[in-house]
Symmetry: C2
Subunit: 265 residues, 2 copies
């Protein structure tokens, strides 16, 4: 495994640029997509499990010695794709206070909208908080939902914070970003169900269709009225009186698992 000790190493500089959140389109003649930096043991393990080899793997040279988990990850990657880095260089790459000493650079395929949308999915309308977007993806993956459609104005799905709270959901789902949900609705072959407070029926008194698109809206403003008007059903979660509504990811969890309870359990 090659060792890097200079900030001027071209490969390192490229990863540093990517890790700071700048996207680089693939320029190597490979399939269209973009490069993303995955940080931390769990995300890298999850990538190996679900997607295969990274393009490039960077390891903290100290952690290769003193962390069994980091050493094990290094064994799982082709040494020609691996770099051992000085701890101070890894520290500069890290987005968190206590990095775990491992980063993968991976290529994420560009997703183009399918002509017909007929599988369970979540539709996210301007969900701004990266933690919420990540937790929504993690929740949908746990509920067995294969697809997510994110409108313009959602936190970027492949940003470090969303990846971190997604906990690997990204690698088992198809994620479509910058989707015009009104246009996508023309391709929708299953009912669109929205969570709403008005003109809505209780989640627990609504027979849910076997497959559905679940529409979830912005943390403060809720779902765009023009989108809400397209919904086939509006449901609410019956909660205690005089308290704040639920966090959007918790609300999604309750809906998606009630859906799962009605149809797959």
């Amino acid at each position: 495994m090659k060792h890097i000790s200079s900030r001027d190493n071209p490969a390192y500089k490229r990863v540093l640029r990517l890790a700071s959140g700048k996207r680089a389109e693939t320029d190597d003649g490979g399939p269209p997509g973009h490069h993303v930096v995955l940080e931390g043991i769990h995300l890298c393990q999850s990538w190996l499990q679900h997607a295969g080899s990274p393009q490039l793997a960077l390891f903290d040279s100290d952690r290769l010695q003193d962390s069994d988990e980091v050493a094990k990850l290094a064994l799982a990657v082709d040494t020609r794709l691996s770099l051992s880095c000085e701890p101070r260089l890894m520290k500069s790459l890290s987005q968190v206070e206590h990095g775990q000493g491992v980063c993968f650079v991976v290529t994420v395929p560009a997703q183009s909208l399918p002509p017909r949308i007929d599988h369970n999915c979540i539709w996210l309308d301007r969900i701004q908080d990266p933690g919420n977007v990540g937790t929504l993806l993690r929740t949908a993956a746990a509920a067995g939902i294969p697809n997510a459609y994110l409108s313009q104005g959602c936190a970027s799905a492949w940003s470090p914070k969303v990846l971190r709270s997604g906990q690997g959901a990204h690698f088992v789902m198809s994620i479509y970003e910058h989707v015009d949900l009104q246009q996508a609705h023309e391709r929708l072959a299953i009912p669109l169900i929205a969570t709403a407070l008005e003109n809505a029926t209780s989640l627990y008194k609504t027979p849910l269709p076997p497959a559905a698109a679940w529409l979830l809206g912005n943390e403060g403003q809720g779902i765009d009225p023009a989108l809400l008007a397209l919904a086939d059903k509006r449901i609410f979660i019956p909660q205690a009186e005089n308290v704040e509504s639920l966090n959007v990811a918790v609300a999604a969890g309750i809906c998606l698992f009630e859906h799962r309870r009605q149809h797959t359990l």
Copy 2:
């Protein structure tokens, strides 16, 4: 309303100290408890709605002019308890990037453990992330759960981040902190239900008792084995295979609302 333009004002200095997370025990001969700073329009509105007057209210002098919501809050508080502050002073108090120009100082009553625990409640075992603790409280409040028992090692319930993600849940629940949950178990008169992966039955195939204590564990390590051994039931949420488990607040939402579905709807 008195106006403050100096950092050396004693009242301002005291609030600044509190806002930085330092607790001050009440020293004014009032009931035992501690002072807490609430920041932002929503939390302050929520305090007025559920708890009444603050001890002290600080308003950004510019926002009193240009924000209807801040001006409305100011009208709801006795002017003798209110201070108008220079914007730069309010900025120093704020824990967020774009503060809303209002802080309340309030007194939170100290809670001593009831002799008998017989109401629906959540038991949090070392939940470390402040966002998770806050979202758990918000979720419990929405599910109509009146009490929360937090072990040593949980994020401090009255810290700014927990308050922010709690969205006012703090003011409708009784929150017990630094609880020895094993000792508390001796006072428990209702079943203790734990979420667990092993030796557990499906949430949806388990008749849930009318009242229960829901035990939720640390994000990484789960529930302490000694506590888990005390559980009357162990349940799991049946999720898709080969994906990461759910976020603890989402898992709680699914359990608490299934409980609510079985008994109150």
